[in-house]
Amino acid sequence: MTPDLEAVGLSKTFADFQAVKNVSFTVPAGSFFSILGPSGCGKTTIMRMIAGFLEPSSGDIRIKGESVLGVAPNKRPVNMVFQHLALFPMMNIADNIGYGLRRQKRPKAEIARKVDEVLERIGLPGIGQRKVDELSGGQKQRVAIARCMVLEPDVLLLDEPLGALDLKLREHMKLELKALQEAFETTFIYITHDQSEALVMSDQIAVMNQGRFEQVGTGKDLYYRPQTSFVAGFIGDSNCWEGKVESVDATSTLVRLDNGSAIHGVFDDRTSHVGDSVDIFVRPESIGISRNASDFLDCENRLSGQVHDVIFNGAASRVMLRDSQGGTMIEVALPQSGGSTDLLKGESVHIGWRAAQSTCFVKGAV
């Protein structure tokens, strides 16, 4: 099956600034594809090239196998939900949604029927005659999506559509958007700088940084098997240390941190050499914590230290620990079940994790 959308070697240069650098990806039909990256990394630029508002400097964009280069935005089988929604304030809701159908010169009765249908599907039946500013943020959101979906586009582009909503509504809309995408069975391309949005909704996520795609994969892949130092640092929380490779053997690598501590780690399918400068990432939830050193006999990394602080945040509670050997600050997840919930400041504890849990990246390598 041909993918709904394919970008090949896409680049965009503004004057002297390259905003998008040689980006390629494929989005299978009916999937939810996210582009995740910090603000300013070039996400919107990619989106505008797909929608047709920007001409790529090089590369190709294919929709259902056909190149759309040179096709005007109003002729492309893609629609876009804008960052601030861009509903037409001069029209009521029904006219907003019917706008695209009117452009296709559909009969009036058909337009009215389709508008009613789509309003039904987004759970807002009967609001057609209201004005745009009479709707709540979440309702506007849904109308903006309905306005595109009524045209049955091959691909729907969404540019940080939840950015303007408050936290609570955003959490709710994440699930709803996913449900809408499944209901419409349309390919969604979703831009965000919020990893949780991307992780919750997406089938595939591309992590983007400074105009490049760092890694494309499922949420799980990115979380557990980051391929670059940027992805490891950007997705989820991590302890991050710098050090030098001291020795390499078949199963693990020994890294000496700058403060003298030694950490066992693994390289993600890359060979490293003694003396390389590396970054080591260890997730707080990968580290076990206990009052008994004997709990970690099977761990390659075993440390002890003082509790510096306990941060209670429900399921995401943390202990900040100062390593008694090198003085490094280590963030450790504090499970709310088990024997360690009563830790006190200043108490001595033991921690340990497997070498496989500390991911290392050689500095400067891409």
Partner: protein, 286 residues
């Protein structure tokens, strides 16, 4: 007690505005209306009647001038709008930074000189021995001097030129308030330039269009120098009639009737424009 003081304070604050309205607008108009009702029956003798209005409506010249002034002003307003709209879109949406400022300044430049000088400028350009005439001869379109002055087209050029700024400013202001992404959404959902213009840009700019049109229409209707100096021997303009009655003919009574009719005319046309486009004055003044 406090409510009393508050109310008093409100009136004290409002007083300058009320005084201004009363002294400069309402009282002179009442005075003018009363004057227009006086009929001169002899040297220094007057009677109250509508005779002056009757003269206006029975003398074909006056009616013709009245209608002509109104039609030409509406036309000038329409032409100004047609020229100013693309210019405003360019300034508000396409031009960036410095270019935007320069274009805006260009619209302002005509107002660096007085109306008289501005009109003389056009006379120098358009006259038989003027620059435009020499240019078309030089290009070879014609082989003898052409008079571009002293006709209705010259009046139109002068009126449109003078009015440009007053149309561009409200248009640019409203167009700038239209989010670019709303226009892009219009294209994205399949709109052509024409339909985006008709369904999105023009409806959004409607209040700006209206206030621009009202100002330009009033300015054209009340213009005195431009039609007279550029119009030549057939330039009939209602303000000239009013001036003639007041100053040349010593007939203040008829002049007042004319002036009052001009007020009625402009109010009526503004009202009609608002009704026609479904706007309210309040919305237009936002």
């Amino acid at each position: 007690m406090t409510q009393m003081t508050a109310r008093l304070g409100f009136f004290v604050l409002l007083m300058p505005l009320l005084l201004w309205l009363a002294l400069l607008i309402i009282i002179p108009h009442i005075d003018m209306f009363l004057l227009s009702l006086r009929e001169r029956v002899g040297v220094g003798e007057y009677e109250t009647s509508f005779a002056n209005y009757l003269i206006l409506f029975t003398e074909p010249l006056y009616i013709w001038t009245f209608v002509r002034t109104a039609v030409m002003s509406v036309l000038a307003t329409a032409i100004t709008l047609i020229i100013a709209f693309p210019v405003s879109i360019y300034i508000a949406k396409i031009a960036q930074g410095r270019l935007q400022q320069i274009l805006f300044m260009l619209c302002l430049i005509p107002f660096y000189v007085s109306e008289l000088v501005r009109t003389f400028g056009w006379m120098i350009l358009l006259r038989e021995t003027g620059i435009v005439s020499n240019f078309v001869q030089w290009v070879g379109i014609v082989d003898r001097p052409v008079e571009f002055l002293y006709n209705d087209a010259a009046i139109m050029v002068g009126l449109v030129y003078t009015s440009m700024l007053f149309m561009v400013v409200p248009l640019v202001t409203t167009l700038e308030s239209l989010d670019n992404s709303v226009i892009e959404a219009g294209y994205d959902l399949g709109g052509s330039t024409l339909s985006v213009m008709r369904e999105i840009i023009i409806p959004h700019a409607a209040p700006g269009i209206m206030s621009g049109c009202i100002v330009v229409f009033m300015l054209s209707l009340g213009n005195y120098l431009t039609p007279i100096m550029l119009g030549g021997k057939d330039s009939l303009w209602f303000t000239e009639m009013i001036y003639n009655q007041f100053i040349v003919r010593f007939n203040w009574e008829l002049g007042a009737a004319f002036g009052f009719m001009l007020l009625v005319l402009s109010s009526a046309i503004v009202w009609a424009m608002l009704r026609l486009t479904g706007q309210t004055l309040a919305k237009t003044m936002e």
